[in-house]
Amino acid sequence: MTEIVLKQGAEAKLYIGNYNGTICLVKERFVKNYRLPELDKTLSKQRIKAEQKSAKRCKDCGIKAPKIFHADFKERKVYMEYFDKAITVKDYIIEIQKDEEQIKLICQRIGNVVGKMHENNIIHGDLTTSNMLIDKNENDYELIMIDFGLSSYSTSNEDKGVDLYVLERALISTHSNLPQLFDEIIVHYKESYQASDETIKRFEEVRARGRKRTMIG
């Protein structure tokens, strides 16, 4: 079977493969020759593990994420469920940007899912709209979370606050024409996360640190 490369990103190549007879998505992490081989190995292993663990944790608490079939550390490959009809939330937002109702709805979904992740102490580590998928063919779509390579398990408000900060900055740079997204997401984040007040307070501190830094030299 010839390899159909779906996407070649900074870190990994994604292609359609086959795991014990089922069509699946293979995510293969490149060797990075710029960093020390031992560091590269450690990172690649850590990230494959994180991808496996957090996807499972998400599924366990009712968040849609790909099922991980297998992780091959030697070949640096993760075999996972492939959502063949899904598109990224990034593309979806660009498509519906003029439709206020739809924008509100997607923000609600994002807020709810991120809140639920934090409620369950799952830190995504790279919250961007490229790492969220939706299957539009369903009438009432559900958000699918992907790309857990930088994720971790943590109860700390600092980690959750930084997670929100990464999301805010990603939204600003990717969807600069829709400045309302983050605030709208936060409204719904609170709905699904009990201790959200504390986390949001910490997030505001993280943000203030960035603004206050004097940046000498």
Binding site: N33, Y34, L39, L43, T128, L150, V162, I216, G217
Partner: protein, 349 residues
Amino acid sequence: MVIAIGFEGSANKIGIGIIRDGEVLANVRKTYITPPGSGFLPKETAEHHRNQVLGLIREALDVSKIYPNEIDVVCYTKGPGMAPPLLAVAIVARTIAQLWNKPILGVNHCIGHIEMGRLITGAQNPTVLYVSGGNTQVIAYSNKRYRIFGETIDIAIGNCLDRFARVIKISNDPSPGYNIEQLAKKGKKYYTLPYAVKGMDVSFSGILSEIGRKALPQKATKKRKLDQEDVNELPSHEDLCYSLQETIFAMLVEITERAMAHCGSNEVLIVGGVGCNERLQEMMGIMCEERGAKLFATDERFCIDNGIMIAHAGYEMFRTGTRMKWNDATITQRFRTDEVEINWEVGKV
């Protein structure tokens, strides 16, 4: 034809440069160097700059063979930086502009670095890694602004290096970062350090504490029990510098690459004082080669804070119509890269 003179003094370097339509006529600089184990403090740094500035003006005019009456605009660093040295230099720039009867322009220090880097290397529309004592940012141009895609969420990379140099008390001459680089060249053993990348952001404070603990475990004993590893062998400074550089530079290359993938860019420009580090340039070069991109970097004349970059960014502002009122010719400690509207062309013209 526009001739601009630039004054820079936002940190421990004071520099003056004169540029004529992109041609460097003079670029002179003095650095305030403190003893090993200590950093530069605002008041003393300002005093250093005050003592050096008149001599440097004379030198810049002599080297460039330009007379004050030929100059079109006086540029100075408005921020970001340390207030007392910024102010000391801004006052001189204002006085000179009044004396010579020239217009004045306050320049964003970071924009100075980026524009000088582009001028010297010929990079068109690069993903910029800006790494210095006070800054760590991944920047790309879009729609009239240099936008920040990634940055440090705590301390700057240069600050991390400088503070570690103070922990192990190595010389600040010519710069702590340079001396760490020399030690790192002799390092062999890699000690694992935290690796902190969050999306396109990075964090260095955890790494700094951990490497400090590895360097001086006796200091940490009060708070925390020693690991077996600490007791068995004290790591050499060479190995620690090597491990530190390998870790933090890998983080920088990683977020730069992520930003490139994000923006679909195939050029990288490294600017700022840490940008002269040859190992960082080497690592970035390998990353670029592997993805068919091109790396642009400059040497210490332009990487490290200097006056010519302020003159050049000021020149770009001046020729595209920016003017500043005397009342606005102030300084500011905080001045983000993305606050400045870019009125000149970036990218293919």
